[in-house]
Subunit: 144 residues, 2 copies
DNA sequence: CCGAATCCCAACTGATACTG
DNA sequence: CAGTATCAGTTGGGATTCGG
Protein backbone atom coordinates (compact mmCIF):
# COMPACT_ATOMS: atom_id res chain seq x y z
CA UNK A 1 0.00 0.00 0.00
CA UNK A 2 2.29 2.68 -1.25
CA UNK A 3 1.43 6.26 -0.45
CA UNK A 4 2.53 9.37 -2.26
CA UNK A 5 3.47 12.42 -0.30
CA UNK A 6 0.82 15.06 -0.55
CA UNK A 7 1.51 17.58 2.12
CA UNK A 8 -1.69 17.84 4.06
CA UNK A 9 -4.22 16.60 1.54
CA UNK A 10 -7.47 15.40 3.01
CA UNK A 11 -10.74 14.29 1.56
CA UNK A 12 -12.50 17.54 2.30
CA UNK A 13 -9.97 19.28 0.07
CA UNK A 14 -9.38 16.65 -2.56
CA UNK A 15 -6.21 16.57 -4.54
CA UNK A 16 -6.10 16.39 -8.27
CA UNK A 17 -4.54 13.58 -10.20
CA UNK A 18 -0.81 13.14 -10.49
CA UNK A 19 0.71 15.83 -8.44
CA UNK A 20 -1.83 18.59 -8.64
CA UNK A 21 -3.69 20.03 -5.74
CA UNK A 22 -6.75 22.24 -5.78
CA UNK A 23 -9.35 23.26 -3.24
CA UNK A 24 -12.70 21.55 -3.45
CA UNK A 25 -14.63 24.12 -5.43
CA UNK A 26 -12.18 23.93 -8.31
CA UNK A 27 -12.39 20.19 -8.49
CA UNK A 28 -16.02 20.52 -9.47
CA UNK A 29 -15.30 22.30 -12.73
CA UNK A 30 -13.32 21.31 -15.77
CA UNK A 31 -9.58 21.48 -15.43
CA UNK A 32 -7.93 21.27 -18.82
CA UNK A 33 -8.94 22.13 -22.34
CA UNK A 34 -7.48 20.33 -25.34
CA UNK A 35 -8.87 20.46 -28.86
CA UNK A 36 -11.77 22.41 -27.41
CA UNK A 37 -12.79 19.59 -25.13
CA UNK A 38 -12.59 19.50 -21.35
CA UNK A 39 -10.47 16.99 -19.47
CA UNK A 40 -10.12 16.43 -15.77
CA UNK A 41 -6.56 15.21 -15.90
CA UNK A 42 -3.59 15.34 -18.29
CA UNK A 43 -3.58 11.55 -18.36
CA UNK A 44 -6.97 11.70 -20.02
CA UNK A 45 -5.47 13.97 -22.67
CA UNK A 46 -2.73 11.44 -23.29
CA UNK A 47 -5.30 8.69 -23.66
CA UNK A 48 -7.28 10.84 -26.06
CA UNK A 49 -4.17 11.47 -28.15
CA UNK A 50 -2.91 7.90 -28.53
CA UNK A 51 -5.69 5.70 -27.21
CA UNK A 52 -7.87 5.66 -30.32
CA UNK A 53 -8.96 2.33 -31.67
CA UNK A 54 -6.17 1.98 -34.25
CA UNK A 55 -3.67 4.58 -33.13
CA UNK A 56 -1.19 2.45 -31.25
CA UNK A 57 -0.85 0.13 -34.22
CA UNK A 58 -0.38 3.04 -36.60
CA UNK A 59 2.16 4.64 -34.28
CA UNK A 60 4.05 1.43 -34.00
CA UNK A 61 4.31 0.93 -37.75
CA UNK A 62 5.28 4.53 -38.36
CA UNK A 63 7.86 4.31 -35.62
CA UNK A 64 9.67 1.77 -37.80
CA UNK A 65 9.50 3.78 -40.99
CA UNK A 66 7.38 6.22 -42.92
CA UNK A 67 4.62 4.59 -44.90
CA UNK A 68 2.10 5.29 -47.61
CA UNK A 69 -1.64 5.17 -47.02
CA UNK A 70 -2.10 1.88 -48.81
CA UNK A 71 0.78 0.30 -46.93
CA UNK A 72 -0.76 1.27 -43.61
CA UNK A 73 -4.07 -0.16 -44.73
CA UNK A 74 -2.35 -3.46 -45.40
CA UNK A 75 -0.40 -3.76 -42.16
CA UNK A 76 -3.18 -2.64 -39.81
CA UNK A 77 -5.45 -5.66 -39.94
CA UNK A 78 -9.14 -4.94 -40.23
CA UNK A 79 -9.04 -1.17 -40.46
CA UNK A 80 -11.38 0.50 -42.92
CA UNK A 81 -10.34 3.33 -45.21
CA UNK A 82 -12.61 5.66 -43.33
CA UNK A 83 -11.22 4.88 -39.91
CA UNK A 84 -7.64 4.96 -41.13
CA UNK A 85 -8.18 8.38 -42.65
CA UNK A 86 -9.86 9.63 -39.51
CA UNK A 87 -7.22 8.41 -37.10
CA UNK A 88 -4.41 9.75 -39.30
CA UNK A 89 -6.10 13.14 -39.50
CA UNK A 90 -6.48 13.33 -35.74
CA UNK A 91 -2.87 12.43 -35.13
CA UNK A 92 -1.76 14.94 -37.73
CA UNK A 93 -3.84 17.61 -36.01
CA UNK A 94 -2.27 16.65 -32.69
CA UNK A 95 1.23 16.90 -34.09
CA UNK A 96 2.08 13.23 -33.82
CA UNK A 97 2.54 12.62 -37.53
CA UNK A 98 3.22 14.64 -40.67
CA UNK A 99 1.76 13.98 -44.09
CA UNK A 100 3.65 14.56 -47.31
CA UNK A 101 1.67 14.75 -50.53
CA UNK A 102 3.58 14.16 -53.77
CA UNK A 103 1.98 15.92 -56.75
CA UNK A 104 1.94 12.88 -58.96
CA UNK A 105 -0.50 10.74 -60.86
CA UNK A 106 -1.37 8.36 -59.35
CA UNK A 107 -1.28 10.21 -56.03
CA UNK A 108 1.34 9.37 -53.45
CA UNK A 109 1.09 10.31 -49.79
CA UNK A 110 3.54 9.46 -47.08
CA UNK A 111 3.04 9.57 -43.33
CA UNK A 112 5.81 9.74 -40.79
CA UNK A 113 6.14 10.41 -37.09
CA UNK A 114 7.17 13.75 -35.69
CA UNK A 115 9.47 14.06 -32.71
CA UNK A 116 6.36 14.19 -30.58
CA UNK A 117 5.08 11.02 -32.18
CA UNK A 118 8.32 9.22 -31.48
CA UNK A 119 8.38 10.49 -27.92
CA UNK A 120 5.33 8.48 -26.88
CA UNK A 121 6.93 5.23 -27.94
CA UNK A 122 8.77 4.39 -24.70
CA UNK A 123 5.51 4.68 -22.81
CA UNK A 124 3.71 2.42 -25.26
CA UNK A 125 6.50 -0.12 -24.87
CA UNK A 126 6.03 -0.05 -21.11
CA UNK A 127 2.30 -0.56 -21.50
CA UNK A 128 3.06 -3.48 -23.77
CA UNK A 129 5.28 -5.03 -21.13
CA UNK A 130 2.79 -4.35 -18.38
CA UNK A 131 -0.10 -5.98 -20.24
CA UNK A 132 1.98 -9.05 -21.12
CA UNK A 133 3.14 -9.47 -17.54
CA UNK A 134 -0.18 -8.82 -15.82
CA UNK A 135 -2.62 -10.63 -18.05
CA UNK A 136 -0.59 -13.54 -19.37
CA UNK A 137 -1.60 -12.72 -22.93
CA UNK A 138 -1.29 -15.43 -25.52
CA UNK A 139 -1.62 -15.26 -29.24
CA UNK A 140 -4.89 -16.83 -30.27
CA UNK A 141 -3.81 -17.50 -33.86
CA UNK A 142 -1.63 -20.55 -34.38
CA UNK A 143 1.47 -20.91 -36.44
CA UNK A 144 1.67 -23.98 -38.61
CA UNK B 1 14.06 9.03 -37.17
CA UNK B 2 14.94 6.31 -34.74
CA UNK B 3 14.71 2.72 -35.90
CA UNK B 4 14.28 -0.36 -33.79
CA UNK B 5 16.21 -3.45 -34.62
CA UNK B 6 14.01 -6.05 -36.18
CA UNK B 7 16.26 -8.63 -37.74
CA UNK B 8 15.15 -8.83 -41.32
CA UNK B 9 11.61 -7.52 -41.08
CA UNK B 10 10.13 -6.31 -44.33
CA UNK B 11 6.74 -5.07 -45.35
CA UNK B 12 5.82 -8.30 -47.12
CA UNK B 13 6.20 -10.08 -43.81
CA UNK B 14 4.99 -7.42 -41.44
CA UNK B 15 6.04 -7.41 -37.85
CA UNK B 16 3.64 -7.16 -35.00
CA UNK B 17 3.62 -4.35 -32.51
CA UNK B 18 6.23 -3.99 -29.84
CA UNK B 19 8.66 -6.74 -30.37
CA UNK B 20 6.54 -9.46 -31.92
CA UNK B 21 7.02 -10.92 -35.33
CA UNK B 22 4.61 -13.03 -37.35
CA UNK B 23 4.32 -14.03 -40.97
CA UNK B 24 1.74 -12.21 -43.06
CA UNK B 25 -1.08 -14.73 -42.88
CA UNK B 26 -1.19 -14.57 -39.11
CA UNK B 27 -1.38 -10.82 -39.11
CA UNK B 28 -4.77 -11.08 -40.76
CA UNK B 29 -6.44 -12.83 -37.84
CA UNK B 30 -6.90 -11.80 -34.28
CA UNK B 31 -3.87 -12.03 -32.06
CA UNK B 32 -4.86 -11.82 -28.44
CA UNK B 33 -7.99 -12.61 -26.48
CA UNK B 34 -8.80 -10.82 -23.26
CA UNK B 35 -12.16 -10.89 -21.53
CA UNK B 36 -13.47 -12.76 -24.57
CA UNK B 37 -12.64 -9.91 -26.91
CA UNK B 38 -10.00 -9.87 -29.62
CA UNK B 39 -7.09 -7.45 -29.59
CA UNK B 40 -4.37 -6.94 -32.13
CA UNK B 41 -1.73 -5.85 -29.68
CA UNK B 42 -1.08 -6.04 -25.93
CA UNK B 43 -1.01 -2.26 -25.83
CA UNK B 44 -4.65 -2.28 -26.81
CA UNK B 45 -5.34 -4.56 -23.86
CA UNK B 46 -3.59 -2.12 -21.54
CA UNK B 47 -5.69 0.72 -22.93
CA UNK B 48 -8.84 -1.35 -22.45
CA UNK B 49 -7.86 -2.04 -18.84
CA UNK B 50 -7.06 1.47 -17.68
CA UNK B 51 -8.22 3.77 -20.48
CA UNK B 52 -11.90 3.90 -19.58
CA UNK B 53 -13.50 7.28 -19.25
CA UNK B 54 -13.10 7.58 -15.48
CA UNK B 55 -10.58 4.89 -14.69
CA UNK B 56 -7.42 6.93 -14.44
CA UNK B 57 -9.09 9.27 -11.95
CA UNK B 58 -10.38 6.36 -9.90
CA UNK B 59 -6.99 4.68 -9.97
CA UNK B 60 -5.32 7.84 -8.88
CA UNK B 61 -7.59 8.35 -5.90
CA UNK B 62 -7.38 4.72 -4.85
CA UNK B 63 -3.62 4.85 -5.16
CA UNK B 64 -3.66 7.34 -2.31
CA UNK B 65 -5.96 5.35 -0.08
CA UNK B 66 -8.89 2.99 -0.06
CA UNK B 67 -12.22 4.72 -0.42
CA UNK B 68 -15.92 4.10 -0.07
CA UNK B 69 -18.32 4.31 -2.99
CA UNK B 70 -19.78 7.62 -1.90
CA UNK B 71 -16.36 9.14 -1.37
CA UNK B 72 -15.31 8.20 -4.87
CA UNK B 73 -18.49 9.72 -6.23
CA UNK B 74 -17.58 12.96 -4.53
CA UNK B 75 -13.96 13.20 -5.63
CA UNK B 76 -14.48 12.15 -9.25
CA UNK B 77 -16.16 15.24 -10.63
CA UNK B 78 -19.10 14.61 -12.90
CA UNK B 79 -19.28 10.84 -12.72
CA UNK B 80 -22.72 9.23 -12.53
CA UNK B 81 -23.57 6.38 -10.19
CA UNK B 82 -24.03 4.09 -13.14
CA UNK B 83 -20.66 4.82 -14.68
CA UNK B 84 -18.85 4.65 -11.36
CA UNK B 85 -20.37 1.26 -10.65
CA UNK B 86 -19.57 0.03 -14.13
CA UNK B 87 -15.96 1.15 -14.13
CA UNK B 88 -15.37 -0.24 -10.65
CA UNK B 89 -16.84 -3.58 -11.67
CA UNK B 90 -14.63 -3.79 -14.73
CA UNK B 91 -11.52 -2.98 -12.78
CA UNK B 92 -12.49 -5.50 -10.12
CA UNK B 93 -12.98 -8.14 -12.81
CA UNK B 94 -9.58 -7.25 -14.23
CA UNK B 95 -7.89 -7.58 -10.87
CA UNK B 96 -6.98 -3.92 -10.48
CA UNK B 97 -9.09 -3.30 -7.38
CA UNK B 98 -10.71 -5.31 -4.62
CA UNK B 99 -14.04 -4.60 -3.04
CA UNK B 100 -14.80 -5.20 0.62
CA UNK B 101 -18.43 -5.32 1.71
CA UNK B 102 -19.14 -4.74 5.37
CA UNK B 103 -22.37 -6.45 6.51
CA UNK B 104 -23.81 -3.39 8.15
CA UNK B 105 -26.85 -1.21 7.97
CA UNK B 106 -26.45 1.15 6.26
CA UNK B 107 -24.17 -0.70 3.86
CA UNK B 108 -20.50 0.08 3.71
CA UNK B 109 -18.28 -0.85 0.80
CA UNK B 110 -14.61 -0.10 0.43
CA UNK B 111 -12.48 -0.22 -2.67
CA UNK B 112 -8.73 -0.49 -2.75
CA UNK B 113 -6.06 -1.20 -5.30
CA UNK B 114 -4.44 -4.58 -5.71
CA UNK B 115 -0.75 -4.98 -6.43
CA UNK B 116 -1.66 -5.03 -10.10
CA UNK B 117 -3.59 -1.82 -9.72
CA UNK B 118 -0.66 -0.12 -8.06
CA UNK B 119 1.71 -1.42 -10.71
CA UNK B 120 0.16 0.66 -13.48
CA UNK B 121 0.76 3.87 -11.60
CA UNK B 122 4.30 4.63 -12.81
CA UNK B 123 3.09 4.41 -16.39
CA UNK B 124 0.20 6.76 -15.70
CA UNK B 125 2.62 9.19 -14.14
CA UNK B 126 4.74 9.11 -17.26
CA UNK B 127 1.69 9.72 -19.44
CA UNK B 128 0.87 12.65 -17.19
CA UNK B 129 4.31 14.11 -17.71
CA UNK B 130 4.23 13.46 -21.43
CA UNK B 131 0.88 15.20 -21.92
CA UNK B 132 1.94 18.19 -19.85
CA UNK B 133 5.19 18.55 -21.76
CA UNK B 134 3.82 17.98 -25.24
CA UNK B 135 0.58 19.89 -25.15
CA UNK B 136 1.33 22.74 -22.80
CA UNK B 137 -1.79 21.98 -20.78
CA UNK B 138 -3.17 24.70 -18.59
CA UNK B 139 -5.88 24.58 -16.02
CA UNK B 140 -8.96 26.26 -17.37
CA UNK B 141 -10.43 26.95 -13.95
CA UNK B 142 -8.89 29.85 -12.06
CA UNK B 143 -7.78 30.00 -8.48
CA UNK B 144 -8.81 33.08 -6.56
C1' DC C 1 -25.55 3.70 1.59
C1' DC C 2 -24.75 0.99 -2.43
C1' DG C 3 -26.04 -0.30 -5.99
C1' DA C 4 -29.32 -2.80 -10.18
C1' DA C 5 -32.54 -2.05 -13.95
C1' DT C 6 -34.54 0.60 -17.41
C1' DC C 7 -35.06 3.98 -21.03
C1' DC C 8 -33.23 7.07 -24.34
C1' DC C 9 -30.14 9.92 -26.91
C1' DA C 10 -25.58 10.83 -28.89
C1' DA C 11 -21.30 9.26 -30.54
C1' DC C 12 -18.67 5.97 -32.67
C1' DT C 13 -17.91 2.42 -36.21
C1' DG C 14 -18.39 -0.22 -40.50
C1' DA C 15 -20.00 -1.12 -45.26
C1' DT C 16 -20.71 0.63 -49.50
C1' DA C 17 -20.46 3.66 -53.22
C1' DC C 18 -18.30 7.48 -55.43
C1' DT C 19 -14.37 11.08 -56.90
C1' DG C 20 -9.98 13.55 -58.48
C1' DC D 1 -3.77 5.78 -55.08
C1' DA D 2 -5.85 8.30 -51.66
C1' DG D 3 -9.26 9.70 -50.18
C1' DT D 4 -15.04 11.63 -49.41
C1' DA D 5 -19.98 10.86 -48.71
C1' DT D 6 -23.75 8.54 -47.07
C1' DC D 7 -26.36 5.40 -44.49
C1' DA D 8 -27.16 1.91 -40.98
C1' DG D 9 -25.88 -0.73 -36.95
C1' DT D 10 -23.73 -0.78 -32.60
C1' DT D 11 -22.02 1.05 -28.46
C1' DG D 12 -21.44 4.45 -24.72
C1' DG D 13 -23.18 7.34 -21.40
C1' DG D 14 -26.72 10.12 -18.65
C1' DA D 15 -31.15 10.41 -16.18
C1' DT D 16 -34.33 8.20 -13.67
C1' DT D 17 -36.44 4.73 -10.95
C1' DC D 18 -36.40 0.89 -7.86
C1' DG D 19 -34.49 -2.60 -4.33
C1' DG D 20 -31.60 -4.63 -0.26
Amino acid sequence: MKKVSLGGCDRANPVLPFGFWLPRKLVEGRMYTWNDKPYRCPVEVAFAAVGGKWKCLILWHLHLDKMRFKELERVVPGVSQKMLTQQLKEMERDGLIVKTVFPEVPPKVEYELTERGHSIFPILEQMHGWAIAQFDLKKSAEDE
